[in-house]
């Protein structure tokens, strides 16, 4: 009997189980690696690359060489550097827009689901109405308004913090886009959070908290929200690629980041004009773009499979 007792398997926590499951998922791990590489390329390695905005009209469409690993584009700019710097913008768009929409969406959805009743119905009707609004109008208005402020913001930042003018200019140029997207992306997320909250609301530990006399706000923020965080975070890893794709679409419409900043969306759009002649201008940024999105999706899937106890295993 003692032998049998010693062979009882050790207890394991939710996170340990999840990590183990993740590790077994080859695609997810592969995705994680790729993203890691992308990050280091775009944010660390990029600083060592030649200036992506340096125009050299004599050396257009050069093939890959010692100096230009991927060759040059239509204005003689180093393609590799452009892709990396473009990656910065695209990845940041995905992350920040997601962060903004998660922040708003969680609070909104949780409150709506928790309070329930007429308030809930009203709040959800607002979401429905907002979803029916032409997205493009919202983006144009938001971008225009926020860009107007970005000029003033640049001046303010440079004066008060002494940051480099060009860098700040580029930053404030791009930031309104993040917020515009984020302010629009919270709608579906709030729905999902609400659904989660509504099911958690009925659980015993919430009843217990109510019985103990805790205030509604405390229950919401200390007990309910932490429990919906899991699935929500997983869902949001899937919205990051969604936002990156949105940014590309906006670039196609001419509403994305402004010159000389570029993003993967801008690069792909420009490259698509050279399909017949210099197809590498499309394929190379497209490759980076697609790889990143692939990896993010696999990662998100892996996270969901790992964390969701009910999901089917082998």
């Amino acid at each position: 009997m003692t032998d049998k007792m010693s062979s009882i398997p050790q207890g394991s926590s939710l996170w340990k189980d999840a990590r183990a499951r993740m590790a077994k998922n080859r695609f997810a791990m592969g995705g994680l690696w790729v993203i890691g590489i992308m990050f280091s390329l775009c944010f660390v390695f990029a600083w060592f690359c030649p200036d992506p905005n340096k125009i050299n009209l004599v050396n257009k469409f050069a093939s890959s060489s010692e100096e230009h690993w991927f060759g040059t584009d239509a204005l003689g700019r180093d393609l590799f550097a452009r892709i990396l710097y473009g990656g910065q913008v695209s990845i940041l768009v995905g992350l920040i827009a997601t962060a903004v929409s998660v922040a708003i969406g969680i609070v909104y959805g949780a409150v709506s689901g928790f309070v329930g009743g007429k308030t809930d119905a009203f709040m959800m009707r607002i979401v429905d109405t907002l979803l029916a609004i032409p997205f493009l109008v919202l983006v144009i208005v938001l971008q225009a308004t926020l860009s107007k402020w970005s000029g003033d913001a640049t001046i303010w930042i440079v004066e008060n913090f002494g940051w480099d003018k060009e860098f700040t200019g580029r930053l404030t140029n791009v930031v309104p886009l993040f917020f515009a997207l984020g302010l629009l992306g919270w709608l579906t997320l709030s729905r999902i959070v609400r659904a989660q909250v509504m099911s958690i609301k009925e659980r015993e530990f919430v009843e217990a908290a109510v019985a103990l006399g805790y205030g509604k706000a405390r229950i919401l923020f200390r007990h309910v929200i932490p429990n919906v965080l899991g699935p929500t975070v997983v869902y949001s890893t899937l919205t990051v690629p969604g936002f990156i794709m949105y940014e590309a679409i906006l670039s196609f419409l001419g509403l994305g980041v402004e010159s000389p900043n570029s993003s993967w969306g801008v690069l792909i759009k420009e490259g698509a004009n050279f399909l017949e002649t210099e197809i590498q201008l499309l394929l190379l940024p497209g490759l980076f773009f697609s790889l990143t999105l692939f990896s993010l999706n696999f990662l998100g899937d892996g996270l969901r499979d790992a964390l969701d106890v009910k999901a089917s295993k082998d």
């Binding site: 109405t129 609004i133 109008v137 196609f252 759009k269």
Partner: protein, 309 residues
């Protein structure tokens, strides 16, 4: 039943009203003016043309005049960028968008669902891997890349397929395919997930144990349950088709509604914008209502549950 209808109609009108208000003020908030022209337009001319469109009235008056015109004259105003009645524009372009949308949906379901089923059934094999990779293309490659690629490598070489245009029935194929690919990808993933979940359930094991053939297991027992998440996605898919259609319409020169939406925004054409928004809002409200009605009609359980929700 009657009360249910009235209730929903009322709700729908409220939604449309809210939509109208928000869109109205958003359109007014857009920087710029609808009558910018490169030519030397004198101040008098500008004043005259604003009067023609009723844009010189105070804001609150414009707000009430617009719905009044819809109700009394059935007129949605005249588009400032196109010079034609908005109603005409919508009437002419909607059938094309509808055709494009339905064909895209057909492609999406026709490609996405079988791929999803296949990869679920052959999970973790190379079939699974390739199918998911194909699905990923729809998610990770933007339509403004796929479109031109198809134009160059498919349309130019396959007789009968034109690079762009909307003359013959087969012209809908390439744009519908491009547009449907995104939804197909999501559908494939969702179907795969749904079927996997069902496959792991007990009743499937029972069926297998009883000796039911594998195909029958899939088709008869798992499909219905497995398709649930995919079917739930069809709603957002519809919305995605509408928003993605602009790119496809521009690339393939399809005279649909998507490009009007974007053009209206960029040219500050508020009447066209309002008309289109209200039209879409109306469509969504009506489709919701129809769907719920049909559900209630087919299944009394759902109807009762829906009323107590």
């Amino acid at each position: 039943m009657f009360r249910f209808l009235i209730g929903r109609l009322f709700q729908g009108m409220l939604v449309l009203l809210a939509l109208y208000t928000i869109t109205f003020f958003l359109a007014k908030a857009m920087p710029g003016e609808p009558f910018t022209s490169e030519k030397n337009v004198s101040a008098e001319t500008k004043a005259n043309i604003r009067k023609l469109y009723g844009l010189d009235q105070p804001l609150w008056k414009q707000y009430f005049v617009y719905p009044k015109n819809i109700i009394t004259e059935g007129s949605f105003g005249i588009s400032t960028s196109k010079g034609r009645p908005v109603g005409d524009i919508i009437l002419q372009s909607f059938p094309n968008s509808l055709l494009l949308g339905l064909c895209s949906l057909a492609f999406a379901i026709g490609i996405g669902v079988p791929i999803g089923v296949l990869s679920a059934v052959r999970k973790n094999s190379w079939v699974d891997w390739t199918c998911m990779a194909i699905a990923m293309i729809g998610i990770c490659v933007p339509s403004f890349t796929i479109g031109p690629l198809l134009q160059i490598y498919a349309a130019a070489h396959i007789p009968g397929l034109k690079v762009a245009g909307w003359g013959n029935l087969q012209d809908v194929l390439l744009p519908a395919f491009t547009l449907g690919l995104v939804s197909a990808a999501y559908l494939a993933r969702l179907t795969r997930g749904g079927i996997l979940e069902v496959l792991s359930q007990d009743f499937v094991r029972t069926a297998r144990a009883k000796g039911v053939s594998p195909t029958k297991v899939i088709l008869k027992h798992t499909l219905r349950g497995g398709l649930l998440p995919a079917v739930a996605y069809l709603g957002p898919a519809f919305a995605a088709l509408i928003s993605g259609s602009f790119i496809v319409e521009t690339i393939f020169q399809v005279p649909g509604m998507g490009q009007h939406f974007v053009n209206a925004a960029t040219t500050r054409d508020e009447f066209l914008l309002l008309g289109l928004s209200l039209f879409f809002g109306f469509l969504i409200v009506v489709m919701n209502l129809l769907a719920d009605l049909l559900t209630g009609f087919l299944d009394p359980r759902v109807r009762l549950a829906g009323e107590t929700e």
